[in-house]
Every structure is written in C-alpha cells, then in structure tokens.
C-alpha cells in the first residue's frame, strides 16, 4: 500500500537535500518544527537556532515552532494527508515524537545512505572493537570508486 497524499516531517537530523523523504516525495508539503520544549529545557542558544533556521531556508519546508507532534498532526490535517513520511532519527526525543505521530497518523521512515553497511550488528562497547569490523568495509567503496 502506498500513501496517496502524504506530508513530509523534516527534523533536526536531516536538514539536507539528501533527506530521503524530501528526495522521494518532492511534491508533498513538508514541515519543520522548532521543538519549544527542547529549546527551553536544554537552554539551546540563539546560535544553534540561527544555524537550524538557515539550514531550513534552503529546503522546501514550512517552518513552525511549538509542540512538534501537535504541529505535525495539524499540518497533516490541513492537507488532508493519509500519512507522514520522515527520515530515520537516532535521538530518543525524535523517536518519541515519531511514535506519538504514528499513533494518530501512519508514519513511514525512510533511511538515507549509511556510512557503512555491515552484514551483522557490530560489537560496540569500545571503538577499537567496532572499527576492526567496520574499517575494512568502509574502504571497500574506495576501491570501488577509485
């Protein structure tokens, strides 16, 4: 099943033109929300906000501030959307927003190109362990490109 009339939710981890949701759904109305709770609770400085704002100006997005989940759902409602498309996020705060959006409106997450794709989950714990597994795979694409 495909979404017929989705909107795109752009978040702080994907403010680039390679955002897979923007790439795959160029016609869909897109939204970025400044997360007021996060800004207040973490005392995010104006420098950071200015930087995020300038990144947004490059993208075809509507900019809002406030409660992220409420703003995304209201935006979806306004466009009569049958779903929300977004990109993967690592930050737990963004994952929680995604889960809350998904309770009211189907959320699809698209992943961009990874830095390295490993055949199985690497062992973390210490960098050296991870890098022993990842480094040779990262360099495979050097050979391929060069």
């Amino acid at each position: 099943m495909d979404l017929k009339q989705p909107i795109v939710w752009v978040h702080e981890e994907s403010l680039g033109s390679t955002n897979p949701a923007l790439e795959d759904y160029p016609e869909a109305p897109a939204l970025f929300v400044f997360d007021q709770d996060w800004i207040d609770s973490k005392h995010i400085s104006r420098k950071r906000l200015g930087f995020l704002y300038e990144c947004c100006l490059d993208l075809p997005v509507t900019i809002r501030k406030g409660n992220v989940v409420a703003e995304v759902l209201a935006f979806a409602n306004r466009y009569g959307a049958d779903g929300v498309i977004s990109s993967g996020a690592v930050e737990p705060r963004l994952q929680r927003h995604g889960a809350a959006i998904n309770r009211d409106c189907p959320l699809w997450i698209l992943d961009g190109e990874p830095f390295v794709e490993l055949p199985r989950a690497p062992r973390l714990g210490r960098f050296s362990r991870y890098w022993r597994e990842a480094e040779p795979v990262v360099w495979e694409s050097y050979k391929a490109s060069g």
């Binding site: 981890e13 680039g16 390679t18 400085s45 104006r46 906000l49 930087f51 990144c55 690592v90 490109s145």
Partner: protein, 273 residues
Amino acid sequence: MLEQEFPGASGAISPIRGGRQAAEQQIRKIDGKRYARSRDHLNGAVTGLSPYIRHGVLTLAEVRDAVFQSINNRDDGSKLINELGWRDFWQRMWQELGDHIDDDQEVFKTGHSASSYSRELPDDIRDGCTGLACMDGFREELVSTGWLHNHARMWMAAWLVHWRHVHWKAGADWFLEHLLDGDPASNHLSWQWIASTFSHKPYFFNRDNLERYSGGNFCKSCSSANHCPFDASYEQLETKLFAQRVPIRDVPARRQGHRSKSTARPNPSTQRF
C-alpha cells in the same frame, strides 16, 4: 525573526553559516593528507564540517566520498575516515543506550567517587574569567561561534573534571547549550571518555602539550603563566589529580616486579582519541 520568535534564547548568531552552500564550501576544502599531519594542532587542517554532519546537511556517506576523492592512496585518508568512524560509533552507541547516555557508563577510574564531583558549573568558567588565558579563550570561542577544535574540547573537559572536580555531565550540558554540532552521542561519550567513566583511564594533559598544539599563543599573554596549574610533568600531575586507590585487602609483600594488580593505579591516558 529569531529574536521575536525565541525571546528566551540567549546570545548572538554564530559566524558559522547554516545551509547547503556553506557546507559545500567547507567540503571542497577537504584534504585528507594535510588533515592527517595536522589535525591535533588548533590551526590544523580540520574540516569544520561537524555542524553540517550533525544536522544532516551533509551525510557521513557524502563526507566519506569527498575524502576518497581528496586522496591518492588509502594511507592519506585513513586518519580522517577513522574520525568519521568515531562519529558513526557514537551514534550507534546512542541508538543502543537511548536516554541512558546521560548516566555514568562505568565507575570513575580516578580514585574519586562519582558523588565527589560538583554538579554545578562554576560561575568563573561560565563567565570566562578564570584567569587562565587558554580556558577563557576556549570559552569565548565556544560561546561566540558554537564550535571548538577537538583538542580544545579535550583540554577543557579534562580541566573541568580533573582539576576543577566538576562532574562530566555539568560540563557536557553546558557544551550542548552552545555547540552547533551539539550531540549527546559524541559529546556525552567523549566527556565520559575523558572522565574515565567510558574508558580504562582518565585523560589529562600538561602545559607542554597545550603549548605545543596551540602554538604557544595562550601562554604568551596569560596572567597565570607563572603559576599555571598545568605546568608539571605527567607524573606530578597524576599524583596531584588522582587519588591513590586503596587496596581492597592487605597484599602480602611480593618479590620485586610482581606488584599486585589490585593496588596498582591504572595509568592515566595522555593520548588523544
């Protein structure tokens, strides 16, 4: 617009511009070979890409490919690719830890208990009036631009935790208020690496090290140059900063060269990562 919309946010805008064009200007300057030779120096050929990577203006895969294009052989790029690997590693750790990234991952190996570290950032540090030209200088750069060189981040974090006895989380939260690339993954776990709650030993440095990699610029004009808290050998600093670990039980006398492991303090780290 920002002042109107976010009247509570503090400070001015950074000279570091957001957006794709600014990111592309930076990425074109990548030089893997020069990077490898100079990255530990404050004026070294570091990329300045962290704010763009953090916010997905550039993906790590794009930066990886730009590094590949800037080099003629694998050796020239291995250092920079390695650093991109650090970012990927911290992100994977964050994915796994979730909100537990805020917690001490392990016990402190400094000989001090977690509860002995202050949970408040001292005012002289926040205000940049400690009288140490280096640290006040780093604070100024952090607050006015939202970016700091990796070595400056390491020195500042080590000084806060090991000399000023501030808990890493208080320092890490302060960094996140200001850093454009602020990211609990790279930030909190690097602070923990320095503090020793995510490494086998604490990281610290001395004046020689700071002077060397900063081109001596701070020490020249420092009002504390004659009573610099960093002006000592690593052995002296180690004794001063870290508490001797009390043996778990009395260890019987051993023949020379066979000191019991349980009484030995782990060697602190002076290497960067």
